[in-house]
Amino acid sequence: MKVTGGRAVPAHGRDPILRMEKITKRFGPVLANDQIDLVVREGSVHGLLGENGAGKTTLVNILYGLYQPDAGRMLLRGRQVRFTSPRSAIRQGIGMIHQQFMLVPPLTVAENIILGLPPRRSAFLDLRRVEAEIRTLSKTYRLDVDPRAPIWQLPVGIQQRVEILKALYRQADLFILDEPTSVLTPAESEALFEIVKRLVSEGRSVIFITHKLDEVMHVCNEVTVLRQGRVVATLPTTETTPAALARMMVGRDVVLRLEKGPARRNGVVLQIDGLRASNDRSLPALKGVSFAVQQGEVFGIAGVDGNGQTELAEVVSGLRRATAGRIMLRGVDVTNAPVRRRISQGLAYIPSDRHRFGVIPDLTVADNLVLKDFYHPPFAYRAILQPGTIRQHAAALAKRFDIRMAGIEQEVRQLSGGNQQKVVLAREVSGDPHLIVAMQPTRGLDVGASEFVLRTILAQRDRGAAVLYTSAELDEVLAVSDRVAVMFDGEIMGIVRPNEVSLEEVSLMMGGALRKLLLPPTEVNE
């Protein structure tokens, strides 16, 4: 160990491991990176801060050999380098943990980690040895990953650790973490920060991409702030404040704030009693969940990815079978009823993965807007489609929800992510549903689009809809919800009011360390 604690020598005093000079990258009319300079010092954590679309990911993709810069040069350990592919970047000791994991689902952890590596020692694959090595690495960094588990069985949080293991196994000395905490809970993030600190304490260097200010202050030695493809500033974190960084990042002061009035609750819409269900591996995912959602409130579900939220949303919307318990929707038992019956009872669903669950990218905007209603009047009489009505419907919704497109006959695949989500929102919300199940509806959207989604959902609440809201972003759940149920390991650890609970308590509940009904029991089913 050269430097203990990683802070013995001020970061800005050390030698640079990486120097990127005047990097420019253009995509069509968009200037993604405009003459960006970035210097990363050895044994330090360098934060890359900026909003969605600021150019952070483009810059590191250039470093990782995924893109070729239009101009500029890179020096790694003082030598000029040019990476034509990730393979050459990896060979030079660069390890990247992408936002979207690059893993092969049917293969095991160990197989994924050695994928593409030349065999060592002999021509034969010694998986057992690899597994032992991975187990050791996993133990050292407290990653708790079973090298024999197939990737597709693992929750997102664990998959990220596999990516970290992959880079560790390849003995990377410059790690790129792209928004690594976006899928983690506070406790998990804390564990990740420990890993990052351990990495730099061994002389390795980390580029830490984020848009979260507290993370920058917490783990980074230095930070470069990007805005609209340009460097706003590079400075040591000891010489700045979160508020100052926020101003640099967005060019104005920001606070996460959602303006909403008090909930006007009025009668139970969704009542869930003792609900049990299994996950895809036939293991119990919901272990007796009970709660009620009322008209005119947003009922949030907080928890680490993979603690039963997905299964809960699927069971409520009819895509997963309940093994026990009861789901009452407006007084009707819909426990294992077909999706269409729930829809006719007033259910709407806003999924997390739009491309897979929300829209049919090959169909037109107009067709996607009638995906739930195409078979009945006024869109079809005796199974004969009414194209005129379908077009009018689409035009009206496109206007009301401000869907930006070339026309309603355009294929949805050609729309931006935000506009695709508007198509989903328009379809799901326009029928004035009684219950909206929203599953991470803002995932992958930029700030503006996220805000539109949240505002739409709150407007529905004020109209009188009951909303069941799930998100991996704790801040978001707390901001949007009137009540929040915290899930851990298939159980509800407690139901709380966001303004009456501390973040620390919620974190403890998400980690399963605290089981508490912070509301008096009468409040829950009032």
Partner: protein, 366 residues
């Protein structure tokens, strides 16, 4: 924008034209003048009554079976089993034609066609049920069912149904009341082509104008989103495959009742496989299937004349067919927009574990 769209839609046409151009080179290598050969081919396919009737006769089974593959394709399924479904359809029609007597043609003909459809549909049922319940890839099962169908017919016509004293395996003659009307006197051209055209039009309307067509397309394009929107993916997939099998079954029934009037061992020279080419080149569009099957029917019919008068081997036509598929694939790869290609890509990328159909079918299991 519209020009681009038109270019995309016309890729199959370009592919066929390119194949014909390269085919000229092959004709030249075979020692004939390509222009003479092609005009001879054209003349053979259309100019005389006999040639034209042969074109119609060859088009008919390709059209039926091509529709059968196209319906499944619409729902995102690969029906490689049209050949077996043709054999079963022929068998079904033969049973009704051989064992039932004394019915008027107006009853007996529909009955044979229905029996063919039923047999073909049932032949497709097993693979699709395995698919939606167990996730067994239908490409493999439908393909393997072809062999079972072929040998089942071989056994039937050389055993239980064999014409006594026949020199090689074929069945007893069907009741004359099952014979389809002849379209052009003194030729083989039978009314099967009219039925096929009618069905193609019907399918076109089904796809373009009805809620069923909408659902088929939605499920084919994204089964998960369709399940979330309340559609029953499992039922849709089974219906599409069985309908496809039934259409291919009618191809077999029409071959028997319109042309041969007996069930012969190996009576289909691979119409079911050519139907896959026809459906893919048509991108699953029924009217495209009409055009493509007519084109290949004409090619086959004209090739015989070309061989007789110029000595250019018929095999050239099959080479042209193969080249058309290659050019199509190349064209689509450049455009990156095609039902078939998207499906193949999804399949190859997803592997067995993230198969969207299976996942969707699991979700709407109740």
């Amino acid at each position: 924008m519209t020009l681009r769209l038109a270019a995309t839609r016309l890729i199959p046409v370009w592919a066929v034209l390119a194949a014909l151009m390269l085919g000229m080179l092959l004709v030249r290598l075979a020692g004939a003048n390509p222009f003479v050969a092609y005009s001879e081919l054209l003349r053979g396919a259309f100019a005389d009554l006999f040639g034209f009737s042969t074109t119609l006769v060859k088009t008919t089974p390709l059209l039926f079976a091509g529709l059968g593959v196209a319906v499944a394709l619409r729902a995102g399924l690969f029906n490689i089993g049209a050949e077996g479904q043709i054999y079963l359809g022929g068998l079904g029609a033969t049973l009704v034609g051989v064992y039932l007597h004394g019915l008027p043609p107006v009853v007996h003909i529909p009955l044979t066609l229905f029996a063919g459809a039923l047999a073909g549909g049932l032949w497709a049922l097993l693979p699709i049920v395995l698919r939606v319940t167990r996730g067994v890839n239908e490409v493999i099962t439908t393909l393997l069912m072809n062999y079972i169908g072929f040998f089942l017919v071989s056994w039937v016509v050389s055993g239980p149904l064999m014409e006594p004293g026949a020199p090689y395996p074929y069945s007893r003659a069907l009741d004359p009341a099952t014979n389809l009307p002849v379209l052009i006197p003194a030729t083989d051209a039978h009314a099967g082509i009219l039925i096929a055209l009618f069905l193609a039009l019907l399918l076109h309307l089904l796809f373009a104008r009805t809620a069923y067509g909408f659902q088929l397309r939605a499920v084919g394009a994204n089964p998960m989103a369709s399940a979330y929107a309340g559609m029953n993916v499992r039922v849709t997939l089974v219906a599409a495959m069985v309908l496809g099998g039934a259409l291919a079954g009618v191809a077999g029934a029409v071959e028997v009742t319109g042309l041969k009037h007996r069930l012969f061992e190996g009576f289909s020279p691979g119409y079911g496989y050519d139907a896959i080419v026809v459906a893919f080149l048509s991108n699953g569009q029924p009217l495209g299937v009409v055009a493509m099957s007519f084109f290949f029917g004409a090619l086959r019919s004209g090739a015989n004349i070309m061989q007789r008068s110029l000595g250019v081997p018929v095999a050239i036509v099959f080479a042209i067919q193969g080249l058309a598929v290659i050019f199509l694939a190349a064209g689509l790869a450049i455009q990156r927009r095609s039902l078939v290609l998207e499906l193949l890509r999804a399949r190859l990328k997803g592997g067995a574990t993230t198969d969207a159909h299976v996942e969707a079918a699991r979700h709407d299991a109740f």
